[in-house]
Symmetry: C2
Subunit: 252 residues, 2 copies
């Protein structure tokens, strides 16, 4: 099938989940992808890319890895792009298959669990932050935006290609807990104030939806609710900012 | 002049600066504005607002404050709105006139200085974070996106209406420094690692542009560059996340 057709199709979550493929769009994201170990199926280039100052460098990397290239005109490219002003380059790559069992090998664990976080920009920023601050993996529960949504990938700034991103359920987390000493903390304004000395060796940190917070399912499973002390005038911190502070304070 | 015309005009930064007015759009933002002490010139309501479950509550608050209301059809409303799916309510209010002299009264100061931060969502989130974490004020240097840009206001989630937001230059900051013992720190990956015990009583914390970081002008003025320790695989944290962690670590 033509890459253009595949790229358009991968705009839908169902297609991404069925094919276990995703689209990385834009110079910066494709550059990070080319430097990663992920399997790249092909690169779609629109005519607008030719004027990009980084075209020569990227084309050389693509040629070096012998990756299939399909060239289309700028209008066709725009039909597959998810950005308003496409830079004219996107790559189709395989979703890496990380699993919880790979987490088991480590002595200190910081598993960031996303419970219904919905905004693609927030989730991409969270994945970037999780990698930067040394989280073991990011784990998305049902109700969370697809981690491989093109906007999430773009906001991730390349972190998706290195940091383990796992999609799963509470049942799987419970199985892991059954054989490991794991503390499960949920971020919630009604929680006890975080103190640095608290940090356990193996921690699941659960952060909830932008508006509704943690789900009932998560509330039922956490050992403790933790809060960041903030001004009473403000309802909450942005979820990516709160996650950043929590991961920083709790870094292993 | 009709509110509809004013609201459309205020989409441009020049108009906002000349008139010292801004637009707060959407149920949540207008609700926060109505609860604040800011002067509201009027409210524009589109027909799509009538079906909003929070319409009755907001209409009552507007009536109680005797604020001028102008009703338009949903198409006219959309022509003044900055969102893709307008909720049908916006308010026009006066930009509050905060100044550095109001900062002087406090014994502990955390002045957050934005040096060319460009993304409206980032800046709105930063203002929300600054208020939540007790920063004294947020100060925007030239090159920073307009703090009263409708997208910045929306991302601020109401913090603009309570937290002092100041627009100014390095010259004005220098004048303040001439008569106060102020430490000026810039956030930069090449800086020394932040330690909590460092925090001085009176601090200007400067954060730079998403891509380019601090300007040459800011680099020339800071006493110290501070960094957050992050994985070498990641180039940087998102500026709102980094600001959140720094303000949390350095809170007075």
């Amino acid at each position: 099938m033509k890459l253009l057709t595949v790229a358009r199709d991968l705009g839908r979550r169902k297609a991404r989940e069925r094919q276990q493929l995703f689209v990385a769009e834009g110079v910066r994201t494709v550059d990070e992808l080319l430097r990663s170990t992920l399997s790249i199926r092909g690169v779609l280039i629109g005519s607008q890319f030719d004027e990009n100052p980084r075209a020569a460098g990227l084309n050389a990397m693509i040629a070096e890895r012998s990756i299939a290239v399909e060239r289309v005109d700028f209008r066709e490219f725009a039909s597959a792009a998810q950005t308003d002003s496409p830079q004219g380059i996107l790559a189709i790559a395989e979703v890496p298959s990380w699993s919880l069992s790979q987490v088991e090998l480590q002595s200190k664990v910081r598993l960031l669990v996303l419970d219904g976080v919905q905004d693609p920009g927030n989730v991409g920023t969270i994945i970037r932050t999780a990698e930067a601050l040394g989280a073991t993996a990011t784990y998305a529960l049902p109700g969370t935006v697809d981690l491989w949504n093109p906007k999430v990938v773009r906001s991730g700034m390349g972190s998706h290609f290195r940091h383990p991103c796992i999609v799963g359920t509470w049942d799987e987390l419970d199985s892991f807990r059954a054989s490991h000493a794991v503390a499960v903390w949920g971020a919630d304004a009604a929680g006890t104030a975080l103190t640095k000395s608290d940090a356990p060796d193996c921690l699941f940190l659960v952060v909830g939806n932008e508006g509704a917070g943690l789900s009932a399912e998560s509330r039922a499973r956490v050992d403790r609710l933790v809060a960041l002390p903030i001004s009473s005038a403000v309802e909450s911190l942005n979820v990516a900012v709160a996650t950043g502070i929590l991961l920083y304070e709790l870094r292993a």
